[in-house]
Amino acid sequence: MKKINIGKHAVVLILIIFWIVMYAMSSSFRLGDNLKSILREASMTGIAALGMTFIIIMGDFDLSIGSMVALLGIVMAGFMNSAGLIPSLVIVCAIGVVCGFINGVIIAYFNVPAFITTLGTYYSFRAMAYILNDANTIICTNPVFLKIGSGSIGVIPVPFIIFIVLGVIGCIVLNRTVYGRNVRALGNSEKACKISGINTKKVKMLAFMLMGLCTAVSTMVITARQACASTDVATNFHFDAITVVVLGGTKLTGGEGSIFNTIIAAILYATISNCLNLYHVDAKWQRICMGLILLMAFSFGFIQQLIVKMRENSQKKITQNA
């Protein structure tokens, strides 16, 4: 029992250790600005990772979020220059939900595997973004909006505040609402849910709409941070988000997962890439590093199983000798 729990929160320990080591070793790491930028980066993938946690708990994936960011960014920036800040933010959320809805309907109501569906939308969304604005980049000048990306309240960056707030909400939804309960139940056994009168299709679809919403929010942050919306943004976004979620110990097979760990994992992931930069690791190697990290994260569940098995065996030995 104990061992498993440690496994559950391994990411926290890893972060602390990693963090202490870096803190001791690198003078640049210590700088407040550096820590701020870590939190900023963490929030960008993190916010999307919150939604992705729900999806992966159901045992699905969403690969389309990167393209969604591109599409939503273009739409938002376009409206901002005409309709103004608040309306554009509302609109982008709405469209984010619609994108999620499209994914959700295909996946839930035509039961098509999620990863292939979202692979399809992955290309469609980005293409739409291209077509909407003919591959031009829209520059955002609204100072208030830019604060969403680069501002800080006190010493804490705005994106991170948004991230934490959403995180708390996500935590409550996942653990203490009927919907969250259904999502996790669905990840455990679809059949059981059907029998228990849960509308599994609806639950699935809503989860993808939620994903769309989270993507919309992270689009705001990303666009604000880059002060412009372009069609070729966030090409590896889905990859980062999934890595973060899985790093957070959410099982690929679904059923189990924790928002808290996802948040920690997001910070860890950002810290790692930050350190790779601090030590000027060659981009080619960075790519490979990230791949290996993901591989480790993926095989984490497997390793846990091994531990459990080993313990069971030893127990059996004992019981037989007795």
């Binding site: 295909i106 039961n111 098509v112 292939i116 992955y122 077509i131 095989s299």
Partner: protein
């Protein structure tokens, strides 16, 4: 006769679509109809079609491979490097060795680490691409003075371009392996019901590894042609390759849930996609629209696929496994 038509309804309908589209494009741009262009289309077909054959096997075994794009790149780099240093033949050998390794690694990750195909190949996709970039090290490796390689792309036997001959050859072999050999049968049984296959004494893990290897090998064949066309080793090619191939296979009517592949369908589908791309190019249509179209086609194919799967489900339920 009627039964025959029913049996091949998918393939026939695909064929019909091809003819219609071809007609439409020809009207818009007369040069579509030229023998030269038709040859072009067929050569372009060969690129995806060959890899798609392998991918059909993967899908049949209930897995699939997102890393073939990266394999394509890695092979082109290695091919160029080895060819320029120690001749064409060793280069080709090296290419295949790499393919086999990549395939086996994919297979091992999926079967031994118990990571599902999607996630595993997502990782290898990153890693292999990383290795390719690392090897190329920022340079495009030219291949001229290697006219013998050129044969792979533009050489002709009895007036027929080599790629087309290769495609035909690959499909004949695949067809025999798929339907006539014990291997093909076991592959189908693994995809259809892994548990039962295991109990019937089939080495399911080996089957899956084999499926990945076949996919990788066919990917190499495609890569050889591609590399010979451009006479370049480049680490960045083939980003969208995996999607194109998957779209082809699914559009061809192969069940994403495994157990049932459709090689003829795959071939027809790859022709369809090539015709669309070529037609749009010839009519000077922007590449984003092409992406959009492909994405849409994939989604459409998925929906059809999903409806089929649901029918299948109902069939099974009538036999009591609700």
């Amino acid at each position: 006769m009627k039964r025959l038509i029913m049996k091949h309804s998918d393939n026939l309908s695909l064929g019909a679509v091809i003819i219609i589209l071809f007609a439409v494009f020809s009207v818009m741009q007369p040069n579509m109809m030229t023998a030269f262009n038709i040859k072009n289309i067929l050569v372009q077909v060969s690129l995806t079609a060959i890899a798609a054959a392998g991918m059909t096997f993967a899908y049949t075994a209930g897995v699939f491979d997102m890393s073939i794009g990266s394999i394509l790149a890695l092979v082109s780099v290695v091919l160029a490097k080895v060819a320029t240093t120690s001749g064409v033949f060793p280069a080709v050998v090296a290419a295949f060795v790499i393919a086999v390794i990549a395939g086996v690694v994919n297979g091992l990750i999926v079967t031994k680490l118990k990571i599902q195909a999607f996630a595993a190949t997502l990782v290898t996709m990153i890693l292999i691409r990383g290795i390719a970039v690392l090897m190329a090290n920022g340079a495009d490796i030219p291949l001229y003075s290697m006219e013998s390689i050129k044969f792979l792309s533009s050489g002709t036997i009895a007036g027929i371009p080599f790629p087309i001959i290769l495609t035909v050859f690959v499909y004949v072999c695949s067809y025999i392996i798929y339907y006539k050999t014990a291997f093909g049968m076991k592959l189908r049984s693994v995809g259809s019901n892994a548990e039962a296959s295991k109990i019937s004494g089939i080495k399911t893990d080996r089957m899956i590894i084999a499926a990945f290897t076949m996919t990788a090998v066919t990917a190499v064949l495609s890569s050889l042609i591609k590399t010979a066309q451009v006479m370049f080793g480049k680490a960045t090619i083939g980003e969208d390759f995996a999607l194109d191939v998957m779209t082809t296979v699914i559009l061809g009517g192969t069940l994403v849930t495994g157990g049932k592949g459709n090689l003829t369908g795959t071939l027809t589908a790859s022709i369809l996609i090539a015709v669309i791309k070529n037609g749009l190019n010839i009519n000077n249509v922007n590449s984003y629209y092409q992406q959009l179209v492909i994405g849409m086609i994939l989604i459409f194919a998925l929906i059809v696929n999903g409806i089929k799967a649901m029918k299948n489900e109902r069939q099974i339920r009538r036999e009591g496994e609700f």
